[in-house]
Amino acid sequence: MSKTEQRIQSAPSKSDDDTPIISVENVCLNFEREHDQIPILKDVSLTAAAGMFISITGPSGCGKSSLLRIIGGLLTASSGTVKLHGSPITEPRNEIAMVFQNFVLLPWKTALDNVMFGLKSRRDIPDEVAKEKCLRAINEAGLNGFENVYPGELSGGMKQRIGIARALVLEPEVLLMDEPFSALDNLTADHMRTEIYSLLINPSSPIKTVIMVSHNVEEIVELSDKVVVLSARPAHVVGGVDIDQPRPRSKKSEKFFDDEDRIYALLS
């Protein structure tokens, strides 16, 4: 067993403390088109406790990413609330960071400057300390030596590492990931899933909970402790699946197939 696998196995998969860090309560989202209200999310509720890796899945276009943006404070719900430790989230918070599917990097900035950009909202951090933090995050994300490289010169996997470093530098309690591996080829994604999980969920990481949106059921079963399945639009929660398997998980085990089946059953 490699050391990465040992780290994964020793990672706290679930906490004894079930108090939610994030609670989504009866969230509805409507988009306005001319004079019509188009319902996107309908009464969506979920919770994320410490040590939990939560995945949200559902049909394409059902509003998964919109829900993640509401949790991140990037989008306002039409009704309902999202709370961080019981306090309503109404705008982006330093405790919550996000990794995007298409990386969302600034092409005119180097890897280091892109990561530094993540700390722009932290005016309380002196520049020198900020740079030191960024270099540490770059190192953790496996980008050592790439500080001066521009995103356009990097592969998809490396671009996503910048996105991850930019999130890590905030030392967030909650990490939101919107289809973080879907723009990568299978081999790179396979490798990054293992590495990123051990980087995010380990005792020395400040991240206490991860909420990921994904449509890749195999990826979801490999990574998650709990899965929330949404219906087609307007999306509501059709069910949840607890994944209770030791880590690292064998994709060939009967339990793995069973959990995949349970998710597919809810999706269909």
Partner: protein, 186 residues
């Protein structure tokens, strides 16, 4: 899969820009990314080495012509062996997979012997800084090219140098397309 079939697939693959021209005895790294090699080694071990190439391709949902250059690069670096359609990790490949950090530093010596890294290191020996275009040009003069279009060829060389040589610690990236020799420390 026989070696002949393997070779045929190797030359017929259509997705990547593969070594197009090689008029010297230079060994050229196919245009593959470090993430693909890391993923290949990890997947091969997870599925149980040795295993059939066809099974590996099915498991990865990869077309054989996509997979072959990645296998070829992994073989070149001594990480695995492909023989008679069977893929197996070498002892070095197992050591590589078990390493926790800076795995790509382990292939530093192998990379230094192959192109475009060998030429880049030769340039770095007598130049404080150099560009990837200069490496591509020097290689073209020796008859070593990944693509017939000079601009595409330069992009391939730049991509290989950035992705592999920096990870392996062979080169440092100073500023836009400016490299210099990497630290000698592992």
């Amino acid at each position: 899969m026989t070696k002949t079939e393997y070779t045929r697939f190797y030359h017929e693959r259509n997705r990547r820009e593969m070594p197009l021209k090689n008029e010297s005895a230079a060994v050229m790294l196919p245009n593959v990314r470090t993430g693909e090699i890391l993923g290949l080694v990890e997947t091969t071990r997870r599925l149980g080495s040795p295993l059939d190439l066809s099974r590996l391709a099915i498991e990865l949902g990869a077309k054989i012509n996509t997979l072959l250059p990645i296998l070829d690069a992994a073989e070149m670096l001594g990480l695995l062996k492909v023989e008679g359609g069977v893929v197996g990790l070498t002892e070095f490949g197992i050591k590589f997979q078990n390493a926790t950090k800076n795995k790509l530093r382990l292939v530093r010596d192998q990379l230094a012997k192959i192109e475009p890294f060998n030429t880049a290191l030769a340039l770095s020996a007598h130049r404080h800084t150099f560009s990837s275009d200069e490496v591509a040009e020097t290689l073209s003069e020796k008859g070593v090219q990944w693509h017939q279009e000079p601009e595409v060829n330069q992009a391939v060389v730049r991509g290989l140098l950035i992705d592999w040589a920096i990870h392996a610690g062979l080169l440092q990236y100073i500023a836009t397309d400016k490299f210099r020799k990497g630290s000698t420390q592992m």
